[in-house]
Assembly symmetry: C2
Homo-oligomer: 329 residues x 2
């Protein structure tokens, strides 16, 4: 060990060597992997299948194999890798451990520790996939430049991720940012996927939007282009909305009213600088943002009313970006 005068210089040299990071976003079907420079540049991305056989016992081995192959191919030494971040589709505790992850067939898995052990001891951090996506959008996406971000993913369901001061709010039970299950309507009669009734995602997801549209069609006597659509999807509704269809406008208004009110509730808890909206439904773009923000501004507690709204920009790559951001903390 060298000391004193040489120390600082050597430290800088060591840090500048740590120029790579890996992001691994584990899904139920595929694992997305990204090789990044720690500056935030994505150098390469690829996918491997997620092998959920035998309770997912091969998943981390397969990830380690893929990472090692890439390191060999690129001639990257383990000393050059600052860390590996991994996103898991289920709750992950602060030590990077999973108690149970139904989507992967896992019971208890010490993800961070096990993967590090398989990867020459390179530091590994693990977190929930929705939360790392939020972190990714904060770092290099729609929330770039902000530290207090709420990411809202409008897909089949409604996912969320809360970032406070640049850090994920994971929650004591791994359910931080589960905003899709905020009860918006205690009088709802249909049941949500979670077994409860009246959750935000019953209205403001792709599925929810189609459901609202089917209800409107059943109740409305107005002619609408949606009458001629083979299958009522979120896209069909937004296409009709953009074309000026009145029934579609009513549906989008209802969708935006529930979502705008839902986010006004979130702002009374977390008070973010910016909401970043992603997921399939967000492809509707600016008209969607405008409709939601209009309700939000009208219904939100005065102090939080000026929160900004932006579209997510990283798409399915948000997770791998966030995984790498995780190891830079």
């Amino acid at each position: 060990m060298r000391c004193a005068a040489g120390g600082a210089e050597e430290g800088n040299e060591v840090n500048s060597m740590k120029k790579y990071g890996f992001g691994v976003d584990v899904g139920g079907t595929t694992c997305k992997i990204g090789l990044f420079e720690t500056t935030g540049t994505l150098l390469e991305k690829w996918e491997i299948p997620t092998d959920t056989s035998e309770n997912g016992k091969y998943i981390l081995d397969n990830v380690a194999k893929a990472l090692k192959e890439k390191m060999t191919e690129k001639q990257i030494a383990s000393e050059e890798v600052q860390g590996i971040g991994i996103g898991i589709p289920g709750p992950v505790d602060g030590d990077g451990e999973v108690s149970v992850c139904v989507n992967l067939g896992w019971g208890h898995v010490a993800v961070a520790k096990e993967l590090s052990g398989k990867m020459y001891g390179i530091p590994v951090k693990a977190a929930n996939d929705a939360n790392v996506a939020a972190l990714g959008e904060m770092w290099q996406g729609g929330g770039k430049g902000y530290q207090d971000v709420v990411m809202v993913t409008l897909g089949t369901g409604v996912g969320g991720g809360i970032i406070v001061g640049g850090k994920i709010v994971a929650g004591a039970h791994g359910a931080g940012g589960e905003i899709g299950h905020i009860t918006m309507n205690p009088h709802e009669t249909e049941v949500c996927g979670c077994g409860r009734k009246g959750c935000l995602e019953q209205y403001s997801s792709a599925t929810g939007l189609a459901r609202l549209a089917r209800q409107a069609l059943a109740e409305s006597h107005e002619t609408t282009v949606l009458d001629d659509v083979a299958e009522i999807t979120a896209k069909a509704v937004f296409d009709a909305y953009k074309a000026g269809d009145k029934v579609a406008a009513g549906v989008v208004d209802k969708f935006a009213a529930v979502l705008g009110r839902g986010l006004s509730i979130v702002s009374c808890v977390a008070d973010p600088e910016i909401f970043v909206i992603g997921g399939g439904v967000s492809k509707a773009g600016q008209p969607l943002l405008d409709a939601v923000q209009k309700v939000f501004k009208a219904e939100t507690f005065a102090a939080c009313r000026e929160a900004k709204f932006a579209l997510a920009t990283l798409g399915n790559d948000a997770g791998i970006y966030g995984c790498v951001r995780l190891i830079l903390e």
Copy 2:
């Protein structure tokens, strides 16, 4: 400057000297002040009037004077004080600055910097009063031993403070934890103090409980002990409830239903380990906790359902405790 061998020892000596902290909870009428050991022991507390004349320009001078007098009396040197924490009844930014604080008559005041300047450069941190109260309850009160705490103050209104990983979620606009203004009922016709309609605090505060009771009395034909009560207060309702009065039971059920549902919403955002319930209404004690927790367990997203509930224990001292915890971060 000494070096190497002697350094560590000297460092410990310096730290062990920093054994005191002051907590200052500034209210619109009085400032509560506490002298603490940094271990968490409250040595002495007292109050001084808050002089809001001339836009509150004397407030920090008066605080500094009171602190200096106490230091002289107790023969405490400034080197022995680790810091001063100050709670302000309004939004405070991350640098301890206030943009405007109506309750004190203040426009922009760099609270932390100014008070430190008046106090021999002793480090000062400032934060919102509801948030420091939450921090105090986490440190030495009902939430002791937990790091992810939501404090709910049921007083004239409903206040809140969110603690994640032991730190205050202040919010981008100083409105983190403003859970009293979550919209619970978009169909409400009466107006909340904030100018909107259907806020949690319209139902779950002392005022809200009395309002619900008056509504029940107007609608009910049942005999109730509340008929003979001169003034319908939260205390009168809970007294009648404990005595087995049916009308009061209906009112408390409604109160608990809204509050339980409100906290279930909060748990979908922040997912705390524990809710700590304080404020005047919390004097109703365990029966109140039981009623709220019953609704919470029935209505909350499965992952968060096991959150604990406890009563606040520090009362009006929570703020000064939290102020001192603030300077130990």
